[in-house]
């Protein structure tokens, strides 16, 4: 066994002897048609939560934004936090695909498909929240530059307008990138489908892919260019989202560290979510042979690095608040540590910075259940970070007479849980319709090792 082959074998289980095994493993959940009771149970659970989200949305549009807990001082609340959080999760997929593709980290092949799917779903969900957040959601289109008789145009200095463009571009790009990578696998599904309609279904979307050398050449080139475009885009999206906060006058928001801090935060929560999803898929779809402990080990390192950056970012906030001498900034930091939300803030620090330090140990990185628990904790911590960012700054800015706390309503929670349910629903349908890992890229990786 050559050195290269050994390097590639790291990413496969022992039973992956040939590309045929890969194909069978990847196609099994789609074409074998066995739906266990667990799948149905999860489907119903997810559907029920999705229904909760639908009911909440209907109630929201009927009764107004007042059903949430927002108040005159803390005018932003859950929808904005949920938006930033989901969008952050939506970062890992494209980043894993594109950045790792460019840097030739071939092990990405086991992860990129479902990570990209996660991106697509999460970013789309995130895109809903600004609509739920609006006082008059039916005028959402006013944020778009469309020709109208009044000659009105969006107000381009507003970070929210930048945001729409950034997120819109990202969602469209992610969808195209995801679909491009999917085409060879769709063709394989077409070719293996047992019934006419299934064949036609996959056939339409396979765009006549025959796997000729010319096809592969065009594909590889196109995919690489897309990846090259994707990397700056990933960085730009959360940078722009961070400007919603940084391009303001508020203490704790008006901070130049925000763009990189948000991008790293997004990566962090995204990778954590990848761990959770990978762990579940591996078990539920019998992917132990193609999603290996080695994969988790690598992601564990990424998480560790990100957690250190987050810690440094938090510390820099404290330092600059102290060093600037600005009263409002200092008061805000002291409020974080001693105010009404202090327990939540300590949880945030614990979840995002302290607990992930255990990933220094290889044994913990390779311990799947433990790693998944840490990943969930990180996701909770990142959500807390986003909500506290809003609550603390808005609730404690310049004039103490208007300092107020935020009391979440049941609808706030319903919307958050509902969005998790919808995400789950979309995912559980996805794994039964499309290959959850990229068969053709796994094949390439395996063959590459063998040829060497």
């Amino acid at each position: 066994m050559s050195q290269v082959e050994a390097a590639t074998r790291r990413w496969f289980g022992a039973e992956v002897a040939s590309v045929g095994v890969i194909n069978r493993l990847v196609m099994a959940p789609i074409l074998q048609g066995q739906r266990g009771w667990r799948w149905w149970a999860v489907l119903f659970f997810a559907a029920a939560l999705s229904l909760l989200m639908l009911v909440t949305a209907i109630w929201l549009f009927g009764h107004g934004i007042g059903i949430f807990g927002n108040n005159t001082t803390v005018v932003w609340g859950f929808p904005i936090a949920n938006y930033v959080w989901w969008l952050g999760i939506g970062h890992a997929g494209t980043l894993i695909s594109a950045l790792l593709l460019i840097t030739r980290q071939k092990w990405r092949a086991s992860l990129n498909r479902f990570a990209e799917t996660m991106t697509l779903f999460a970013a789309s969900l995130a895109g809903l929240f600004p609509i739920f957040h609006l006082g008059r959601p039916y005028y959402l289109y006013w944020l778009a530059p469309y020709p109208n008789v009044m000659g009105l145009w969006p107000q381009w200095r507003s970070a929210l307008v930048w945001d729409i463009w950034a997120v819109g571009t990202y969602i469209i790009f992610s969808a195209v990138f995801w679909y491009t990578g999917l085409v060879p696998d769709l063709a394989m599904l077409r070719d293996r489908a047992k019934t006419l309609w299934v064949r036609r279904f996959y056939g339409v979307f396979a765009l006549g892919w025959r796997g000729s050398a010319r096809h592969w050449l065009i594909y590889e080139r196109f995919y690489r260019y897309m990846a090259a475009m994707a990397v700056p885009l990933v960085v730009s999206v959360h940078s722009v989202v961070s400007l919603d906060f940084a391009a303001s006058l508020e203490p704790g928001w008006q901070d130049t560290i925000y763009p990189p801090y948000f991008v790293i935060g997004a990566l962090y929560s995204g990778f954590a979510m990848v761990v959770v999803i990978a762990g579940i898929l591996r078990w539920a779809l019998n992917f132990q042979a193609i999603i290996t402990v080695a994969h988790f080990e690598v992601i564990g390192r990424v998480l560790l690095a990100a957690s250190i950056v987050m810690g440094v970012s938090y510390a820099s906030e404290w330092f600059w608040a102290w060093y600037s001498g600005a009263r409002a900034e200092r008061e805000l930091v002291s409020f974080l540590f001693t105010g009404a939300y202090a327990p939540l803030y300590y949880c945030q620090l614990l979840f995002n910075v302290v607990i992930p330090q255990s990933l220094w140990f290889s044994a913990i990185r390779r311990n799947l259940p433990l790693l998944m628990v840490i990943a969930v904790v990180i996701n909770i911590g990142m959500w807390l970070e986003r909500i506290l960012l809003i609550w603390s700054t808005l609730g404690r800015d310049y004039l103490p007479s208007m300092w107020r706390l935020f009391l979440p309503s049941l609808w706030d929670w319903a919307m958050l849980l509902g969005s998790l349910g919808l995400f789950l629903l979309l995912f559980i349908l996805f794994v039964r319709i499309l290959p959850a890992v990229s068969a053709h890229e796994l094949r390439a990786l395996l063959l590459e090792g063998k040829q060497a």
């Binding site: 107004g64 009105l152 507003s158 006058l249 310049y398 004039l399």
Partner: protein
């Protein structure tokens, strides 16, 4: 506009089928006859009369009474609907300003909860059926004894005339008049001092030193507007007054003081004696704590030094002997006071009147009881057990605006017309008479008090206007019609004030305050927003934050910090107060700066029966004590029940401690004229926005502001600001465009407190503007930061980025179909100012500097082809302010008031370092303490 209709029929009506059909037929007939057309001949609008352009507001002078005493107002009426009240500058007890009660009166006019029909035992009936029954009863009442009449304080010449005619017709008539917020101690004190019924009116304007012994001349009440005006005149003038205030709990006067001493009531009495002793009254000097001794010595020295321009005031919480002592002190100091014959002709004290009433009811001396515009069932102490006394009365009639507690206890209830629907007259505190004229036809089948008394007397169809004219025809000289027209136009009757008397008070008798161990003392008084409870159903007043607690929708039991700690009572704890056998529960609130050993609570809340707004809001404390309307109750015990109560407040008192240094700077008088370090705005990358023809700006003088909240309610009335209700307040959603921030001054929270009204800052470099994605928040060419409601999509980024948090969001359709309680009902809509948009759900709104008033002035100026003049635009808050603390004008004019004030050494900008360059700026508070106390 559609005619005003009520949209609902109150209460449960039992109808038989025939009656229902009759009503249906009658209703159809009326509908066919036309909606709301009057019976008299009317003249079509073929040629537009002068000044009567449709949609143009007209102003009419009228008078509003508070506890009987009138304050002149100008009612703004648009197309026959009064929409706003402003002060009448000609009236001595308005001076062009209003208080919160004046401002809120227009809300109560359109209150759907107002009583709309006569009721017999709660069932709708007619005035005719009442009259039929009354005539029967009256036949007996005239001969047999036992007819009682209960009213509030009456100083109206017409009402007094009608009562005396009633007394003539029914020789047995016993008239009980009482007012919960009364001047019993002052009257008794004046009688002790002068030997006759006189009213003593201080002229604050002429005093250099004022010592207030728990007197609250700046607090809510009939003389507030005048006293506040006088106070501000001196405070802003070249020789500022010095105010000494000793008080157990916070009052507005205490907050305005240069030296405020929190003291127990009995110690304030000792201070009075000590001051008397220093000034040679022969009062014994009694032992008291060192702070009190120092206060008394310094005050006495200052009074002596300013002889002729020194004034001592005693509040209603001080007993009659102290009042008499103060009269003697004032006389010996040559204090600026006017002594007039008491406008209130009834000699009995108010508390005695109520006690006599209950005794007479109980003893069977009354067979018929008429209660006109009074609510004894709510007002009387629990000890009187007045509900039971009512049961003994064979025929009782309640005449009033609401189906209140007393209405429920009476056989008949008759609806009273609102003051804006009424003809009448009134007298101010100094006796100046003025007329009341209606602004709108009666919304319901109601009568004015005068008409009601005339009906009782037997006049078949009395007309309020004729009754008033009858009174004055006898008194006016010369051409009556010209006099009448002139009096209505001016809003006062010139020369109607009695001339001051020149009488000397008797030497005071030495008195010793009741001894005994120092016990927990409960001090009571009128609510700053609800008064004695008569305004309880007014949603604007319920939602108007109280001056110190910023509490809305309820009242609190205020505890000194020391007591709260000792008793382990926290904010929001339910507490039970026991005074003798009487018990009351309330919501506790810790109050810095309150005297240890003193618990404070207010009357006016805890109404059980009234409209939807007041029902079960707050707690009733007026029932405590064995003597009616007692303001000091001793030997009080207080304990927690263990329960927690929701507490609705728009800001926490304690939170503002320690921030005053930067946000509410103050200077000592000696340093007030020193120019501060020249501050120029920091540079900005955004550049300075170009200035248009005008540059509107506002300067608020925190030194003049007394925190009365008139501006808050005025803004609400002018700008169609909706009420949100307690649940929304609990979440933290208030809608007031103008709020008043209160600051306890650092380290001296017991001594000092200041108010800072905060409207929109109209920043030149407004942080709200660049963040709006749709350009709904924009700058206009006159420097206003305007909000385009139609364009707003509700991202709320503007409010998030506002350092002053002055923007308000319509979380629900507060002004539409999601309005609080009865606020969305049809009559309420008639109050809306047609020049201001009613905002819908999901849009941001905020202070506009009363843009509609600027537009109005601009239209007038453009018609005459001239620029808008100085003082031509008066914002609603500015117009209401009794101390003229709010200044508004054009910064482009070098000579304008605001330009001048911006040069003042006291001028400062809120959060100037943010470089938002606000157009709303402030003047610092000035303290003028005596030398040793700095």
């Amino acid at each position: 506009m559609p005619p005003v209709t009520t949209g609902r029929v109150g209460g449960a009506i039992e109808l038989r089928r025939r009656e229902a059909l009759k009503l249906l037929a009658a209703g159809m007939a009326t509908a066919l006859a036309g909606c709301g057309k009057p019976n008299e001949e009317i003249i079509p609008y073929v040629e537009m009369p002068e000044r009567m352009a449709a949609g143009d507001p007209l102003r009419f002078a009228t008078t509003l009474a508070l506890s009987g005493y009138g304050r002149g107002v100008l009612a703004i009426s648009v197309d026959g609907r009064p929409i706003k009240l402003e002060g009448n500058p000609r009236h001595p007890y308005s001076m062009g300003a209003t208080d919160i009660f004046c401002e809120a009166t227009v809300q109560s006019l359109y209150d759907p909860d107002r009583s709309q029909v006569a009721r017999r035992a709660g069932v709708p009936a007619s005035w005719d059926s009442f009259l039929a029954e009354w005539n029967e009863v009256a036949g007996q009442a005239r001969t047999s004894a036992g007819l009682g009449l209960v009213t509030g304080r009456v100083v109206s010449p017409t009402t007094l005339r009608l009562i005396s005619e009633l007394q003539k017709r029914f020789s047995s008539l016993r008239w009980y008049r009482y007012e919960p917020v009364n001047d019993d101690q002052a009257r008794t004190g004046a009688r002790l001092a002068f030997g006759r019924a006189v009213a003593v009116i201080p002229r604050l304007r002429d005093a250099d030193v004022v010592v207030s012994l728990w007197a609250d001349p700046l607090g809510a009440g009939p003389p507030q507007l005048r006293q506040a005006n006088d106070f501000a005149h001196r405070r802003g003038g070249p020789r500022p007054q010095r105010h000494y205030v000793a008080e157990p709990a916070w009052t507005l006067t205490g907050a305005a003081a240069d030296w405020r001493l929190p003291a127990r009531p009995e110690n304030i009495r000792r201070i009075a004696s000590a001051i008397g002793g220093h000034l040679g009254s022969g009062q014994p000097t009694m032992a008291m704590p060192p702070e009190e001794t120092a206060f008394a010595a310094k005050a006495a020295a200052d009074l002596t030094a300013s002889r002729g321009r020194a004034l001592v005031l005693a509040g209603e919480g001080m007993p009659a002997e102290v009042q008499a002592l103060c009269h003697w002190l004032n006389a010996s100091l040559g204090a600026p006071v006017d002594i007039i014959a008491d406008p209130d002709p009834v000699a009995d004290s108010h508390a005695d009147s109520l006690e006599t009433l209950v005794r007479d009811m109980r003893d069977g001396r009354l067979s018929t009881l008429i209660i006109a515009d009074a609510n004894p069932v709510y007002d009387a102490p629990d000890d009187f057990d007045i509900t039971q006394a009512f049961a003994a009365i064979p025929f009782s009639v309640h005449f009033g605006s609401y189906l209140d507690e007393t209405a429920a206890a009476c056989h008949w209830h008759l609806p009273q017309s609102h003051v804006l629907e009424s003809w009448g007259d009134s007298r101010a505190v100094d006796g100046t008479a003025s007329l009341i004229q209606p602004l709108i036809r009666r919304l319901y089948d109601s009568r004015t008090c005068d008409e009601f008394f005339a009906l009782l007397e037997g006049v078949p169809a009395p007309n309020g206007r004729e009754l008033v004219r009858e009174t004055w025809q006898a008194k006016a000289h010369g051409d009556f019609e010209a006099w009448w027209r002139d009096s209505l136009e001016r809003g006062i009757i010139p020369g109607s004030a009695p001339s001051p008397l020149v009488i000397a008070p008797a030497a005071p008798k030495p008195s010793e305050p009741a001894g005994g161990p120092a016990s927990l003392t409960l001090v009571l008084g009128p609510d700053p927003c609800l008064w004695d409870g008569r305004f309880a159903n007014n949603a604007w007043l319920q939602e108007c934050p109280k001056p110190f607690t910023r509490q809305v929708w309820g009242n609190a039991v205020l505890l000194a910090l020391g007591d709260a700690d000792r008793l382990a009572i926290a904010d929001g704890d339910e507490v039970q107060i026991a005074v003798g056998d009487a018990l009351a529960t309330g919501t506790a609130l810790r109050m810095p700066g309150q005297t240890t050993g003193v618990v404070a609570a207010s009357w006016g809340s805890g109404r059980k029966l009234t409209g939807e707004i007041a029902r079960n809001v707050g707690d009733r404390f007026i029932g405590l004590g064995s003597r009616a309307f007692a303001r000091v109750l001793v030997q009080v015990s207080i304990k927690t029940t263990g329960a927690q109560r929701p507490f609705y407040s728009t800001a926490e008192f304690s939170r503002l401690q320690g921030h005053a240094e930067e946000l509410f700077p103050s200077v000592l008088l000696a340093a007030a004229d020193e120019p501060p370090a020249k501050e120029s705005p920091p540079p900005s990358l955004l550049g300075t926005p170009p200035r248009g023809d005008y540059a509107w700006a506002m300067v608020i003088d925190t030194n003049a502001c007394i925190g009365c909240s008139a501006c808050v309610v005025a803004c609400q009335a002018e700008n169609n600001v909706p009420v949100v209700g307690p649940q929304e307040i609990a979440i933290g959603r208030d809608m007031h465009w103008l709020r008043i921030d209160g600051y306890g001054l650092p380290g001296k929270e017991a001594d000092r407190y200041g108010f800072q009204p905060v409207p929109c800052m109209h920043c030149e470099l407004a942080p709200c503007e660049p963040v709006c994605p749709v350009g709904a928040s924009i700058h206009d060419h006159e420097g206003l930061n305007v909000q385009v409601y139609n364009r707003c999509v509700g991202t709320r980024f503007c409010e998030a980025n506002c350092p002053y948090k002055v923007r308000r969001f319509n979380w629900f359709a507060y002004a539409g179909d999601q309005a609080y309680a009865n606020q969305g009902e049809v009559p309420m809509k008639a109050q809306h100012n047609p020049d201001v948009s009613v905002r819908g759900r999901g849009v941001m709104e905020k202070c506009t500097y009363c843009l509609q008033r600027i537009s109005h002035a601009r239209r007038n100026a453009e018609k005459e082809n001239r620029p808008i003049g100085e003082g031509e635009v008066v914002t609603a808050c500015q117009a209401a302010c009794p101390t003229r603390a709010i200044h508004f004008g054009d910064l482009n004019r070098p000579q304008s008031e605001v330009t001048q004030l911006r040069q003042s050494p006291r001028h400062y900008t809120l959060w100037a370092e943010l470089n938002t360059r606000p157009r709303t700026t402030y003047l610092k508070r000035v303290y003028n303490p005596p030398r040793s106390k700095t």
